[in-house]
């Protein structure tokens, strides 16, 4: 049993926001974005800042990133509204590195965003940058957004509207509480009672975490022990399913990309990232060790640079391997994704695994 008191993390916030864009019954969550017609348009979309905004920021001596990537981009076609959502634990100071990213996001107003994603009548679209932050951080975050918007305005840079809401985990539920001056274009949030809108009911002592649809975001990192365990189980699950479901075929292949995409569906967003290189190596090391055990059971496995191949799979081999995958030894076996030894282990690169 996990006894550590829950502290909301950006990964928790991100996954909660995702569930709020999907249809669901209130017994699970109150998906307020979905109910108001917002659909998830994109995860971590790369957005290049308008060149004139970059030039004016430079002239005004403002630090700004040339591209930015909000965690989520939601689209509400009926109101021609785009909503960029960024999850943060807390607010930040105007001199912090985060402010460069925020300036970049603020410098992308609705029509510009709409044009880039290719919708019709882009000039009619509105944009809103929403920061989802930890409880009681919405006020400082709203202040920070206003200060940065003012800087950009002074530098003659067009900005998107922006605001902050706090994600408050209380004994009876998870609440979204917008800052009083935020004016977020979501009716349920505009009409929120004092204390916010409850989006998930909790019983006393119940943990608020939903399933982690996205268990990894390299820009956030994984420090929380439960989030680490989730990632470990996703790796074990991916390997078990990819091999177990194919053992009825006399021969089959499993690629590294398939494995990592089964670990997190949006893997390709980060596959080229420097930050995921260590993770890829660690998964590779784990898979290699599991395959070594399977070879001992008589499996014929060829290791290739980007995949491994099972050949000569007989019904008996299939039964034996499934028994192994279903065994306590495999299910409870340690998975090390975190030590430097596995993250920096390139010894298997020559043969791929």
């Amino acid at each position: 049993m996990n006894k550590t008191p829950f502290t909301p993390t950006p990964l928790f916030q991100l996954n909660l926001m995702l569930f709020l864009t999907w249809p669901a019954p209130p017994s699970f969550v109150e998906p307020l974005f979905h109910r108001e017609g917002f659909a998830l348009r994109s995860i971590a979309p790369p957005i290049g800042v308008p060149l004139e905004a970059l030039a004016r920021a430079q002239a005004a001596d403002l630090s700004i990133q040339p591209t930015a990537s909000p965690e989520l981009l939601l689209e509400q076609s009926s109101q021609q509204q785009l909503l960029l959502i960024e999850c943060k634990k807390s607010s930040f100071g105007p001199a912090s590195s985060t402010s460069k990213q925020v300036r970049a996001l603020l410098a992308c107003p609705g029509p510009y965003l709409a044009e880039r994603i290719g919708v019709a009548a882009a000039m009619d679209w509105k944009g809103y940058l929403l920061y989802a932050v930890g409880g009681e951080q919405e006020g400082p975050m709203q202040d920070a957004l206003q200060a940065l918007s003012q800087e950009l305005y002074t530098a003659r840079i067009s900005t998107a509207d922006s605001g902050a809401m706090g994600i408050h985990v209380r004994a009876d539920g998870v609440y979204l509480s917008p800052d009083a001056s935020s004016n977020i274009p979501v009716q349920a949030l505009q009409q929120a009672p004092t204390g916010g809108v409850r989006v998930m009911a909790l019983e006393e002592g119940e943990d608020p975490r939903p399933l982690y649809l996205i268990p990894l975001d390299p820009s956030i990192g994984v420090d929380d022990p439960v989030e680490r365990q989730v990632l470990e189980e996703r790796v074990r699950q991916a390997l078990t399913s990819l091999i177990g479901s194919r053992l009825d075929m006399p021969s089959f292949e499993v690629t590294m990309d398939e494995t990592l995409t089964a670990v997190t569906e949006v893997w390709h967003l980060w596959e080229d990232s420097q930050a995921t290189r260590g993770f890829r190596n660690a998964v590779r090391a784990y898979v290699k060790e599991a395959l070594r055990q399977m070879r001992k059971l008589g499996a014929h496995i060829d290791l290739r640079p980007h995949h491994f191949a099972f050949t000569q799979v007989t019904p008996k081999t299939a039964r034996d391997l499934r028994r192994y995958l279903d065994s306590v030894a495999f299910r409870r076996g340690e998975i090390d994704l975190w030590s430097k030894a596995v993250q920096l282990d390139f010894s298997s690169l020559a043969e791929g695994w």
Binding site: N2, I43, P45, I47, E206, D207, Q237, S245, P315, R331
Partner: protein, 409 residues
């Protein structure tokens, strides 16, 4: 009995029609021969399209060891690995196979269940209480009010404190299948009703309100459209023919299976967790589509029942649901499992509390898993469970599909 060989499906159908008529006459005289089983059909489901590549029937059946001999392009004689006749197989579509057999039910049931269990690309058709209820409400009640039907209900409180292992499942479908005798009432949670439709309609709703296990329908006999008797549809996709017309039974099986297929496709369309990509000027736009399946318990499961379910299913790797994974205990009343459905070895994500289970199925996982989960949850945990596909009640999805209101394209 020795099975003659057939040169065409017409010859086979004529034989099975005659066979069904003889058995029906014997049942009418209470003289069903001990060596003459009723006709049984088993609906089997293969992997969904866009999942693992569709293979031909021989490849799908390879792990079962079944040997198939074509009678025509889409009809096969099936022998088991030892060469013993099992029956006749026909594909309804790329995804559904139907096996008809006149062999001893005890043996065919065991063979089909065992082989399906060991084959990741095969599953049974799972008919949950909500599915039967819709057939009852929409097809039978208004259309056949004066016919006799049979309903069997069964709920085994498998995970209640101390109940694990205490309940013995009695395979009454075998007894009834083989002897033609009526089933005795055993207890409130395992009961059969055989009565005129219009009469059952008067008391069934009250019965279900008073006692939730009457929502856990294990079998529904759908009347024949051409004569007396009917076809018993069991939760796990077995159909026992108790009418004198094989062709009529086959036609009903096809209709129900097509309906089931449409509901399954609708479920997959709504819930599959999948990435969708659009090429943009700046790069690729990636979005994540899907929706949860939510099974709601009202009242919530008792804490010991909930804990027993988690321990039995995941810690001990036992129990009827055949789910695999290491439970991540977030609190006393909340467990996450990033696991595998061992029927198909597909991934499944579970968020479990005594109030509700939330299930996420990645693309390629079979929508059949939802039907199976609901069926087994009704049977072993809570017969009154309410299921939502996204935000739509499962019951409504089945009803709308049956009435042609659901987009099935």
């Amino acid at each position: 009995m020795p099975i003659p060989s057939f040169r065409s499906r017409q010859e086979l159908f004529d034989f099975l029609d005659d066979y069904a008529r003889e058995r029906k006459e014997e049942i009418g005289r209470w003289q069903l021969g001990k060596d003459k089983g009723l006709i049984k059909s088993y609906v089997l489901e293969t992997a969904p399209p866009n999942g693992p590549a569709q293979a031909d029937i021989a490849a799908i059946l390879r792990p079962t060891g079944w040997q198939i001999t074509p009678i025509d392009d889409e009809f096969y004689r099936v022998d088991n690995a030892e060469g013993k006749s099992l029956g006749y197989l026909e594909p309804l579509s790329q995804r559904y196979l139907i096996l008809h057999s006149i062999e001893e039910a005890r043996w065919t049931d065991k063979t089909v269940k065992g082989n399906v269990k060991e084959t990741a690309s095969l599953d049974s058709m799972w008919l949950a209480g909500a599915f039967f209820s819709n057939l009852w409400q929409i097809l039978i009640l208004p259309q056949l009010p004066e016919r006799y039907v049979k309903l069997k209900f069964e709920h085994l409180a498998r995970f209640e404190n101390g109940a694990e292992g205490a309940e013995e499942e009695v395979n009454e479908e075998l007894a009834s299948d083989w002897t033609g005798e009526e089933i005795e009432e055993r207890r409130a949670s395992s009961l059969m009703i055989a009565e005129r439709v219009s009469r059952i309609a008067k008391f069934l709703p009250q019965l279900q309100d008073l006692h939730q296990p009457f929502k856990a329908i294990k079998m529904l006999r759908i009347p024949s459209t051409t004569g007396r008797g009917g076809y018993e549809f069991w939760t796990w996709g077995k159909i026992t023919h108790r009418a004198a017309d094989f062709r009529d039974g086959r036609s009903q099986i096809f209709s129900i299976t097509r309906l089931y297929a449409q509901v399954t496709q609708a479920i997959e369309r709504i819930i599959w967790l999948q990435v969708e990509e659009t090429q943009l000027r700046d790069g690729i736009d990636t979005t994540l589509k899907g929706a949860p399946v939510t099974l709601e318990f009202d009242p919530p499961l008792a804490l010991p029942t909930f804990q027993n379910f988690v321990t039995t299913t995941f810690e001990r790797g036992q129990g009827p649901l055949r789910l695999w994974g290491n439970p991540i205990y977030l609190s006393e009343k909340k467990v996450h499992v990033y696991g595998v459905d061992l029927h198909l070895w597909q991934r499944i994500y579970l968020d479990l509390t005594p109030k509700r289970f939330v299930v996420i199925l990645p693309r390629g996982a079979c929508g059949n898993t939802v039907h199976r989960l609901v069926t087994n949850t009704q049977r072993y945990l809570d017969p009154g469970v309410k299921t939502f596909i996204g935000d739509r009640p499962y019951n409504d999805l089945i009803r709308d599909t049956l009435l042609g209101r659901e987009n099935t394209l």
